[in-house]
């Protein structure tokens, strides 16, 4: 696989003509966005002014109008940059992915199947609404892999019957084949209890977590500190999580710099990397030529596609040949 610096070179050299064209589009579009949003704000302010004059107004209505404005402004922004965003995806993200591996297929409008997300068992409750985009699918070294942006939400109803949506997970969701045979389910989550409440109370809480399977204590101190493992089978969990794999997951976690959850079920490895934002989307307020912005796209793709090599998913065990 190409190294990160090779990809950065590709981004700045081969994609340079495209980037400068997109940069022109962006500057023009930014003017339009600011202009239209300003007019919208003006309309809202004038309306509010007249409503205040009519004196039939209370704080609730004002708040309502305020929120309404932000919601509409957001939708208008999305509509305005839609063309630019899809241009960016086809002309920058798609070639980047092809450069990393020619066998990968990129579909900006699709996402990883909701059934896979639920089946992974990383989250204890199923989501009520799953959105996503930027599906990348294909084979690396003969190992099937797919990943995409996922935004999963759970519906909440309060006592007054108002519904609200809470985010369960937003970030990169990845599915690939795992080279070992196993029957049960093993889930690896970031260790929040032990780091918040300390070793003693934390591990007590973990071993009494009724929404999960049995706690599996791992014999790698650094790994135990970062993660907590639940599984249906004590022996199988350790068969999957060899010392080598634990080290690799640890270094992957360090590299990604975001909370990582994993699960092993039905011969597959599932990975959820929490970014809490929609990935691979351009912003009209930031130049694509800026190093920091560029590296975010390049690094995220490199990290996700590199997983097969990083976790040695391509080293098939003899029995699975």
């Amino acid at each position: 696989m190409k190294t990160l610096s090779q990809l950065t070179d590709f981004y700045y050299k081969s994609l340079h003509p495209t980037l400068t064209e997109l940069e022109e589009d962006r500057i023009a579009l930014r003017k339009r966005v600011i202009f239209i949003e300003a007019i919208l704000a003006l309309i809202v302010l004038v309306t509010m002014y007249f409503m205040l004059g009519a004196s039939s107004i209370n704080l609730n209505t004002l708040l309502f109008v305020g929120f309404g404005y932000f919601a509409i402004a957001g939708i208008v922004y999305k509509l305005l940059i839609k063309g630019y965003a899809s241009d960016f995806k086809f002309r920058v993200i798609a070639p980047l992915i092809k450069e990393i591996d020619i066998n990968l297929k990129y579909t900006p409008s699709l996402h990883v199947n909701e059934a896979l997300y639920t089946y992974s068992g990383i989250f204890t409750s199923s989501a009520d609404r799953v959105n996503g985009n930027d599906l990348v699918k294909g084979k690396i070294d003969g190992i099937p892999i797919e990943f995409s942006d996922i935004h999963a939400e759970v519906k909440h109803k309060d006592s007054k019957g108002r519904t609200s949506w809470n985010t369960q997970f937003q970030g990169l969701f990845l599915v690939s084949e795992f080279p070992k045979h196993f029957k049960g389910k093993t889930v690896i989550l970031p260790d929040t209890a032990q780091s918040t409440f300390g070793d003693f109370i934390g591990s007590f809480l973990q071993s009494n977590n009724f929404s999960r399977n049995d706690l599996v204590k791992m014999d790698n101190v650094a790994f135990e500190k970062e993660f907590v493992v639940y599984g249906t089978d004590q022996v199988e969990a350790r068969y999957i999580l060899s010392h080598t794999l634990m080290e690799k997951i640890l270094s992957f976690k360090k590299r990604s710099d975001h909370p990582v959850s994993l699960s092993f079920r039905g011969g597959k490895i599932y990975m959820a990397i929490e970014y809490n934002k929609d990935l691979f989307e351009p912003s009209v307020f930031h130049s694509l030529l800026k190093y920091k912005i560029a590296m975010e796209y390049v690094e995220t793709l490199h990290l996700a596609i590199g997983i097969v090599e990083e976790l040695k998913l391509n080293q098939k065990l003899w029995s699975k040949l």
Binding site: D219, Q234, V235, E236, S242, L317
Partner: protein, 185 residues
Amino acid sequence: MSTPLIIAIVLGIILILMYNSLVAKKNQVENIFASVDTQLKKRYDLIPNLVSSVSKYMEHEKSILEEITKLRSEANKPNISDEQKIAIDAKMSSALGSIMIAVENYPELKANENVMHLQRSLNEVEEQIAAARRAYNQAVTDYNNALEQIPTNFMANAMNYRRKEVFEIHENERKNVNVKELFNS
């Protein structure tokens, strides 16, 4: 209700909980030892085939092969204790390891389909044994901790529970560089 009665009931509940957790820990150890045992048996089943395939070629390793056969028959004896099984397993692992390394010196063996297949199966079983051993060690550690920590140590003493031995994990096993690497080269 009088205060002494309440205290007695609370104490009773605490004793029951302690008793139950000790029993659960002991059963967990036994339970996981059973799966270690299954994996060990799987490995012992591969041995006669291995020995017969390689003994024709291996001149200098006769003594190791004899030891392997001897260890296998020892392990298959009825009524051997868990501690003995653990000790035999340690010897067996190192003997098998030296055979696997020795195979490298015999080109005929390296090319032999049957030996290749045996190596693969052995390697797979080896990985499963390693996992089962680690699970067992964790269960034993939990059990031994309960035996020594206050307040469960008093209860364990009264129940006549004894410390159990763990499997020693060899340094090379921790690194996971075992046989697989050898026939990749």
